[in-house]
């Protein structure tokens, strides 16, 4: 299922680890995002579903990743990413970018509150539901200092 897009190897913009965290099975969104990221020139290591915090960290170390992109739709994201930034730092991933997206909470809450709570947990970018790949790619390019 790990279908690479038409990557131009000289245009590799960065290395990304992607996946769904916890007991969540919603895989479609991140698959579509991965496809777009590859097409935009990123190297994507896709972990699929059912990943623990450790799975993400190990993969990031192994692949020397620039960013970890976590997808979560089932509504338990807050429970699942507690302490993640600290674990990254412990593992020596001080500078890694942490992005999270999907449908993060199970209540109809104010977005600013939601965003803040995930930023407080150490995420660099927090995405609203239904975000399309384009703005995510633009943010990545920006955060990675790409032209």
């Amino acid at each position: 299922m790990n279908k690479p897009g038409g990557i131009n190897p000289s245009a590799r913009k960065g290395i990304l680890v992607t996946g769904v965290i916890g007991e969540d099975v919603h895989v479609t969104g991140i698959r579509i995002l991965e496809h777009a990221l590859r097409k935009a020139g990123f190297i994507v290591h896709s972990l699929g579903i059912h990943n623990s915090q450790e799975d993400f960290i190990n993969a990031a170390i192994e692949t020397n990743a620039d960013a970890i992109m976590i997808s979560s739709l089932a509504g338990h994201a807050q429970l699942l990413v507690e302490g993640f930034r600290d674990k990254c730092i412990e593992a020596g991933l001080e500078d890694i970018l942490l992005y999270i997206g999907g449908q993060l909470v199970i209540h109809a809450e104010d977005w600013d509150n939601i965003e803040k709570s995930f930023k407080d947990l150490g995420f660099d970018r927090v995405y609203k539901p239904f975000v399309l790949p384009e703005p995510v790619i633009a943010d990545l390019e920006n955060d990675l200092g790409l032209p």
Partner: protein
Amino acid sequence: MEVVNKKWPEDYFFRQRKSVLAMWPTGNDVDLAEAVEYHKKMPPSKNAALKVLEAREKSISYFCPSSGTDTIDAHKELLLYLQNVGKVDLLTSYIDSLTRNCRFEAAEQGLKKALENRKAVLNGFPMAVHGVKGNREVMEALDLPVLMFGPTPDVRLTHEIGLAGGHTGYSGGPLISFWNYTKNVPVEAVIHNFQYTHRLLGYYEEKGVPILYCVSGAMPAVSPPSLMIAPEIIEVLIAAEQGVKHIQLNNWLQGNIAQDIAYILTFKKLAQEYLARSGHGDVETTTYSVSPTGRFPSEHERVFALIGYYTMIGLLGHVQVIGSRTIDEAHHIPTKEGTALSFRCARMMAGMLQAQGVNILDNEAVKVESRMMEKEVRAILDRVIEIGEGDLVLGTKRAIETGVLDQPYATTQLVKGKVMGVKDSEGAARFFDFGELPFDKEIRDYHKEKIQERENRVGKKVGYETIINDMMAISNGVIVN
């Protein structure tokens, strides 16, 4: 012991049972003999299996939402509201996804948080954590039958507790759980877990308590229906072998009316045929339809149209039970209000259509679809049986290894994942990639021709972009664009 499609000896079942009940302290409370007595004292109107047979007899469709929340009080309030305000006919307890993965401790923690914060934390009802008593407290507050709902690789303890707690059915199955809810659990392990729950259902049946089991095969993602029907029939046969007697056939609507109706007709016909062939002609089958699993539009007014639309297809297909997503689908776990409004909308559609007994079953397009679909399902199933050398479970395992059974967008990494669907110009799902499916030239040509029609209309080849587009089309307002 190798997993094969053979009824478990009673002692094997009871040996397994010890370790299942030991998975979480609440397992101790389950007393099977007492549970059977408990069910026998429940009014028949609260039995799901009997209720759907009643729908079949009366030629009407009942409505059943899928919902559940974490605490006893909230879950009770939710189901009562759906019963009294939503005016549905059957209820479900959605299993939360921690419980579905046997992470009972995490589920218990979530539950505690929910009790403290007086606000839902889990995305469903953690049957196992609540124990028999907690389940019964909810059931006893209601007048309607309640099913457990949710595919998962291991629902054994939840079955023990949920059934003893008064639930009278379950929706989910080994193959859908394997394809869509696991990452690397071998299929035979999932099947073995389900043989346990089937054997348990069979035990209730032997003691005179009818329990409804609802198969669901595989989740569609722009999938031609044979991709769902073939695994669904395998699920039916595996369940029947362990003694399940009341099976509901789940029809995943995707929106093309001819294809959806053909699905309902073909599945019913073949399920009954294969059941009879394998000596289970006494199993009662009923049908269920539900709106698709793709992304839903976020605007209520559009979702209302979709709810009406899919309800209509279920009614035209004369299914016994109609399920539906809700106006909250795109946003958050459905509220009780959102669910009630959605089902009241659905019932209005039934109010208009039901009395008319509209017959489109002999529609030409439905016939064409049915014929091809039947050929496809037979081709898959016959090959599964063949390579299993007579054993369906072995055949299933080998078929998955070789791609004779396959799915697009599966979550498990243990499949070929080569098949892929795309919509034709009328919005029906066609094979873009046949993978290793054992199809003959007629079938292949049919799908190619249909895809060709779309390519001609839009003036370019369909590709991966088209497929992604197709997955989003309905949420953008059209079946295909």
